[in-house]
């Protein structure tokens, strides 16, 4: 597998406004003598001020990629075995403990997916909210309180002064997620990683939270990595998209490009499996057949071929490299889906 060509962005593609550059990242988990490669040669850039969406099924390596960026992979059993993560030109993987601590929460903030459990039940909102600022040594008691109130106001929580004294269980899910966002914003990060920020929230609250995130990142001129499996969310909030499957990027490009002309059969499958407003009501959704592959036991060749309606012999033999479709649009597939008809 190592002999195969790895997905790698050529140097010529590196732009000056790149904030985060992940190059050929490989993260493995070892357990009971078995090695599971959860992220296998993933490369992407995040530019200043843009929102990059990472899309894929459960187990496709989205969250592990995000955790790897902050080196939050529990070790053992996890380990980043290969690759390069450059944040603003600095090598994250080579940082010492103190440097990485400054990076976490300072330059890069992460928002987790479960607002119900991502707050410490015994600390008040105020104490938790001030925590990133305390650990990064910003401000004294008084200015912290004022800053907390300001942050809560920014995420549009009513009556922020008295909410500071509330405990997490006294807030609704949407409010807790807002507090988490406020915590993320506390130290003015340049990159926000939102790992499925709206799971466990109902749809109207989801929209509010995403609007809020988008609006706040824009106002603070921060970039965002939005991890989700919801293509509707992606279409609305992301400028660029990474589609991941079985720990690899299978398609990469601008949101416009990918929604207009998806080039990977997996992306096509994802698009076909969501309801659309421009199609008649009552139409059937087309699911992607089969199951996501077992990462410990990947099929030979392209990992998607057992579920792929376009699969041909070459797909069963060789792993496709990430190749350029046009300008900013890349795919990892041997088949040109615009020319070949699927065989069902």
């Amino acid at each position: 597998m190592l002999a195969e060509p790895l997905a790698q962005i050529p140097e010529s593609e590196v732009r000056p406004d790149t904030l985060l550059r992940v190059n050929n990242l490989r993260t493995c988990f070892r357990q009971d003598g078995k090695t599971v490669t959860a992220v296998d040669g993933v490369s992407f850039d995040v530019r200043k001020g843009e929102t990059l969406a990472i899309v894929g099924e459960s187990g496709s390596g989205k969250s592990v990629t995000a955790m790897s960026i902050l080196r939050l992979i529990p070790s053992p059993p996890g380990e980043i075995t290969d690759g390069e993560i450059l944040f603003d030109g600095r090598d994250v993987l080579a940082m010492n403990d103190e440097e990485i601590r400054q990076l976490r929460g300072g330059d890069i903030a992460m928002i987790f997916q479960e607002p119900m459990t991502s707050m410490n039940p015994v600390l008040t909102v105020g104490r938790q909210l001030s925590e990133p600022m305390v650990t990064h040594g910003k401000g004294d008691r008084k200015s912290l309180k004022a800053r907390c109130v300001e942050l809560l106001r920014q995420v549009r929580i009513p009556d922020p002064e008295s909410r500071l004294q509330a405990y997490p269980h006294q807030l609704s899910g949407g409010m807790r997620q807002r507090v988490m966002i406020a915590m993320g914003l506390a130290c003015d990060p340049r990159l926000i990683i939102a790992d499925e920020p709206t799971t466990a929230l109902d749809v109207t609250v989801q929209a509010q939270i995403l609007e809020l995130l988008k609006d706040l990142t824009r106002r603070n001129n921060a970039s965002m990595i939005l991890i989700t499996h919801d293509l509707g969310v992606v279409a609305r909030y992301a400028e660029r998209i990474n589609v991941m499957y079985a720990g690899r990027v299978v398609e990469q490009g601008t949101a416009r490009e990918i929604f207009k002309s998806p080039r990977h059969p997996y992306t096509l499958g994802l698009m076909a499996s969501i309801p659309r407003l421009d199609q008649p009501k009552g139409g059937r959704l087309i699911p992607i057949t089969g199951q996501p592959p077992d990462l410990a036991n990947l099929p030979k060749g392209c990992p998607f071929h057992p579920r792929c309606p376009y699969a041909k012999d070459q797909c069963r033999q060789d792993r496709p490299p990430l190749t350029q479709v046009s300008g900013d649009h890349w795919k990892a597939c041997w088949v040109d889906v615009t020319e070949v008809q699927p065989h069902v």
Binding site: L70, L72, P76, R101, Q102, L103, R104, G105, G106, A109, M110, F112, E114, T117, S118, M119, N120, P121, V122, L123, Q128, E131, P132, T135, H136, R153, R156, I157, P158, D159, P160, E161, S162, Q165, A166, Y167, H169, Q170, S172, G174, M175, M180, M183, G184, D202, V203, T204, V205, A207, Q208, E211, L212, K214, D215, R218, R219, R236, Y237
Partner: protein, 343 residues
């Protein structure tokens, strides 16, 4: 994309359709997004002082706990003012008054040397309080340090520590006690040291178990992702969340230490006579004269039982009250919300 471009389904249902038109405009308090009912909360605290508030909750929500607390306070005060309550001291021998039943002069009777049992129990309370609190505190400190480090760091550290704890726990307690006492000799501080170490190491298992489940919580990962250091996470996130089992551990150990000290004194390994250890009184005098003067065994026994009961009740109540998840609708914040309906 700004907030005024609200998705169709949202604007259809939200009460304030184009809310927050200009995202740069400060949102005035009380103007909630659609998911919260906007209740401006401006009700003063029921009690300004959180300690008074806590006391109020103890009495109203856990009356048994308040009763236990009362017993604990009496125990503490008795220990503190033993020489005021019983100025004759615990060792005033009066051979003519030996083995007198309870009377107006000797409230709880006298023992075989004519010493007043009440005075001895009062001074015994002092001894019990000192030994129990010192040994338990020591044991909890040991348990917490071992449990936190071993549980949170995991991996090789955990493995090594836990095998050492295993090894320690393999020895029967009594053998360790006898060996330790014969090496460092009997006496109050020796008993405290030995009991603290003994209970501390076995108690670390309970703390470690609690830490293991707590450290997997997302807020711990979140804190780490915010750049918190290991010490900070241990102190701010793990420790407060493992407090409930630690409090229970503390109170059960407090009672257990009182009993263990009695046991040691019974065997002559504890605090040597004539110090009025309750356990010593129960076994030495109590056992010998059980049929002639039953109060000699009953009185210290009752004192022990009451003390242990009070400590346990208070401990349970503490655990419940300190856990914000069990505050239900009566916490400080909710009290303010519920107190006064808004116009």
């Amino acid at each position: 994309m700004t907030v005024d471009q609200i998705s169709p389904q949202q604007s259809a249902f939200s009460r304030k359709g184009a809310e927050g038109k200009d995202p740069r405009a400060p949102v005035e308090p009380g103007r909630a997004m659609a998911d919260e009912s906007a209740v401006p909360i401006r009700v003063p605290l029921r009690y300004r002082n959180r300690h008074v508030e806590f006391f109020y909750r103890l009495v109203t929500e856990r009356p048994m706990g308040a009763f236990g607390a009362l017993i604990c306070i009496i125990l503490l005060l008795t220990g503190l003012f033993a020489s005021v309550i019983a100025p004759e001291g615990y060792n005033a021998i009066a051979p003519l008054d030996r083995l007198k039943p309870p009377s107006a002069e000797h409230w709880l009777g006298t023992d075989h040397l004519g010493r007043d049992v009440f005075a001895r129990i009062v001074h015994g309370a002092q001894l019990s309080v000192i030994v129990a609190f010192a040994a338990t505190t020591l044991s909890i400190v040991i348990s917490v340090v071992i449990g936190l480090v071993s549980g949170y760091l995991g991996g090789r550290t955990d493995m090594t520590t836990q095998r050492l704890v295993d090894g320690w726990m393999c020895f029967p307690d009594l053998i360790i006690l006898i060996v330790a006492v014969s090496v460092i000799g009997p006496g109050t501080w020796q008993v405290i040291l030995i009991l603290g170490l003994l209970f501390g190491i076995s108690g670390s298992r309970i703390v470690r178990g609690a830490v293991l489940s707590t450290k997997e919580n997302i807020y711990v990962h979140a804190a780490k992702s915010m750049g918190a250091s290991t010490l900070w996470i241990l102190w701010r996130h793990i420790l407060p969340n493992v407090m409930p089992p630690i409090i229970v551990l503390f109170t059960t150990r407090l009672a257990a230490v009182i009993l263990a000290e009695s046991g040691l004194s019974f065997l002559g390994l504890g605090i040597p006579p004539p110090a009025p250890s309750w356990g010593g009184m129960l076994s030495l005098d109590g056992r010998s004269y059980m049929f002639v003067a039953p109060w000699l065994a009953i009185m210290p026994g009752v004192a022990l039982a009451i003390a242990v009961f009070g400590i346990n009740m208070f401990g349970d109540a503490l655990r419940d009250l300190l856990d914000p998840r069990m505050r239900g609708g009566t916490g400080r914040y909710m009290a303010r919300v519920n107190r006064k309906p808004m116009p």
